[in-house]
């Protein structure tokens, strides 16, 4: 037995095929709309993910620091005019940092904790000296905060004794190659001769020029912070959950706890605004596509008046006629979403071939996530159905006698 379409889809398909030009136009409109939405969504999602990834590539998700020191009035005497001067913040250790680190490591959502001692120093070689940030870390633990091993251009990311890891810019500025010697001098008069065991390029020239990684004990002794750490760096499982994790830690420890979302508030606001404008564009495109489908079907109902009357005279019920036009809308939406997704894929390919990063790699991958296609198909079919509602109801209400006579 061969497959035969039921009444409503059969007639709907025939009507669409009969109104060739109209069907093509309405399909083109839907295809264009879907393509814009899918393309835009995919592009913005990818770019945003990349920006966030890049920003978080060189910083911790959450950082725990000691509370800032503040001057307080000794006597709470009302009626006295007082001026409280802000205090200069000296380098201090996180109080009982081992306990804090244990607490943080045990907290839900935290995947890694790394103690860091950081302070200012000068890198000196011959007549040249550069201002740097000394970073005392446990290399193994720090790797789980910033994936340093991915950024190494020479040597390994390992610190031991007086072996240090520096950035490419500093190496260039001071003319240093792997295994060369380098002296660091501190404001407190201490200094140390380091041997460069690795050179990194973290993708940020400023950091490439400033960071010098040494062992935790060396940094502690150079910075006069024996046994102490200036901050604890944390990695969390879900980067957008960093803020709640930070809030919980602040509540539990009473220390200064900052998430990347606070540190990069402007970036987050920018991303959010981008999402809002993206949603706005999507909504308008959907409305325009819906209006397009609706208006073409309204015209089609008027053109098909006679046919509708004939079908009704032959026993077709109002709901059957309603279905015929609803299916037309849904079909246009469904086919438009498939074509639109294909077009979006082509656009993504074209754009990724044209726009490239500074290092020549494509700005974004020319790929379509299946969930976007599925989403587009569902939305487009739904929009098609919804926009067919008014024309379909008009068709169903038509008086068969009037329809046949006209």
């Amino acid at each position: 037995m061969k497959f035969r379409l039921p009444f409503a889809p059969l007639v709907a398909l025939r009507f669409l095929r009969e109104g060739r030009m109209q069907t093509l136009l309405i399909l083109a409109g839907t295809t264009g709309g879907v393509a814009v939405i899918v393309f835009l969504t995919q592009l913005i999602t990818q770019l945003q993910a990349q920006i966030v990834d890049r920003v978080l590539g060189s910083q911790a998700h959450v950082v725990i620091r000691p509370l800032e020191e503040a001057n307080r009035r000794a006597i709470d005497d009302q009626g006295f005019a007082t001026v409280i001067e802000p205090r200069a913040q000296r380098l201090r250790s996180v109080d009982q940092w081992e306990n804090v680190a244990r607490l943080a490591a045990g907290m839900e959502g935290v995947t890694a904790v790394s103690p860091v001692v950081t302070g200012p120093a000068f890198a000196v070689r011959g007549q040249a000296n550069k201002s740097v940030a000394l970073m005392g870390v446990d290399a193994e633990r720090y790797r789980r905060i910033v994936r340093m091993e991915e950024y190494m251009v020479a040597g390994r990311f390992a610190v031991d004794g007086t072996r240090a890891v520096i950035g490419t810019e500093l190496a260039k500025d001071l003319g240093i190659r792997l295994e060369d010697k380098l002296r660091v001098a501190l404001p407190n008069g201490r200094d140390e001769l380091l041997q460069v065991g690795g050179i990194f390029d973290i993708g940020n020239k400023d950091l490439n020029r400033r960071w010098i990684f040494v062992t935790l004990p060396l940094a502690q002794s150079l910075l006069d912070l024996p046994g102490g750490v200036s901050n604890l760096d944390l990695t969390v499982a879900d980067i957008f959950e960093a803020q709640p994790v930070a809030d919980r830690l602040r509540g539990a420890t009473g220390l200064t706890v900052e998430s990347w979302m606070q540190t990069n508030a402007q970036l987050l606001a920018a991303l959010r605004n981008q999402s809002v404008s993206n949603n706005l564009i999507r909504s308008f495109v959907i409305i325009i596509v819906a209006l397009g489908i609706s208006s073409v079907l309204v015209v089609s109902v008027v053109q098909k008046q006679k046919e509708i009357g004939i079908l009704r005279a032959m026993g077709a019920s109002r709901s059957m006629i309603l279905q015929v036009f609803l299916i037309q809308g849904a079909l246009v939406g469904a086919v438009g979403s498939v074509l639109g997704s294909l077009l979006a894929f082509a656009l993504l390919n074209a754009f990724s071939a044209i726009y490239r990063n500074a290092d020549g790699t494509p700005l974004f991958a020319a790929e379509l996530e299946p969930r976007f296609i599925l989403m587009a198909a569902l939305v487009a079919t739904g929009v098609g159905l919804a926009s067919a509602l008014i024309p379909a109801r008009r068709a169903a209400r038509m008086d068969p006698v009037q329809a046949i006579r006209s």
Partner: protein, 237 residues
């Protein structure tokens, strides 16, 4: 004889009720048509022929009076039941064939069946082919209406009207826009099916020659039945 296919008693139809242009088009029509009867409905333009045909065809509802089709009082039926009754027991032949241009002759003939059953099936296809054969169009079964002549289109329309073996065929000037020769053919076809299936036929016509070939002539004047007489002699085609 069992219950008449058409049974009208005191049918009144008024348009524009409550408006200043309220007009009563039919003023109490009594009409019965038994199974197998072949009647002509004649009368001058504006006498209410089309309105009466639309009422009998259940395309419109009367303002007053009793209207039974196939023994069922239509006043008790709801919209969906009316639609179903119309689809299953009445076949229409219009003056202008009114075929669906997007469908082939075959599909047009199958359409009442597709509507009644939800989708086409082998039986509907066989019946449609048989009917097209009977109206002499088997060779044109897969052509679109636009590829057929006026007479052929009307033959397809007749085949379509017969698709569900209706008890009643209503034809509104089925030969109105055809030449005499073709008109005779079409009329003969209707007559033949009437004999074969014993369905009741009511045919609106302006052509006195064709009316004379029916069993009975109902003449409508100003919304009333002026006379309702059997024809004197039966003409065989």
């Amino acid at each position: 004889m069992n219950s008449p296919v058409i049974d009208l008693a005191g049918i009144v139809k008024t348009y524009g009720i409550g408006s200043p242009v309220e007009t009563e088009v039919l003023h109490g029509i009594d009409l019965r048509l038994a199974e197998g009867e072949f009647a002509a409905l004649i009368g001058p333009s504006g006498s209410g022929k089309s309105t009466l045909l639309n009422l009998i065809g259940l395309l419109e509802r009367p303002t007053g009076g009793r209207l039974s089709i196939g023994g069922r009082d239509t006043a008790t039926l709801n919209e969906a039941e009316i639609t179903q009754l119309r689809g299953r027991s009445i076949g229409f032949v219009f003056q202008f064939h009114h075929l669906l241009p997007a469908f082939s002759a075959m599909e047009n003939v199958m359409m009442p069946g597709i509507i009644a059953r939800g989708a086409a099936d082998d039986e509907l296809e066989a019946t449609a082919l048989q009917l097209l054969d009977a109206v002499g169009l088997k060779a044109h079964a897969y052509k679109k209406p636009s590829e057929l002549s006026g007479g052929q289109q009307q033959r397809v329309a007749i085949a379509r009207a017969l698709a569900l073996k209706p008890r009643l065929i209503l034809a509104d000037e089925p030969t109105g826009n055809l030449d005499t020769h073709t008109a005779d053919d079409i009329f003969a076809l209707l007559r033949e099916f009437n004999r074969q299936t014993n369905c009741a036929c009511l045919i609106v016509t302006h052509d006195p020659r064709l009316a004379a070939r029916c069993d009975r002539i109902v003449r409508l004047v100003d919304g009333r039945i002026a006379d309702d007489l059997p024809t004197e002699k039966e003409t065989n085609p």
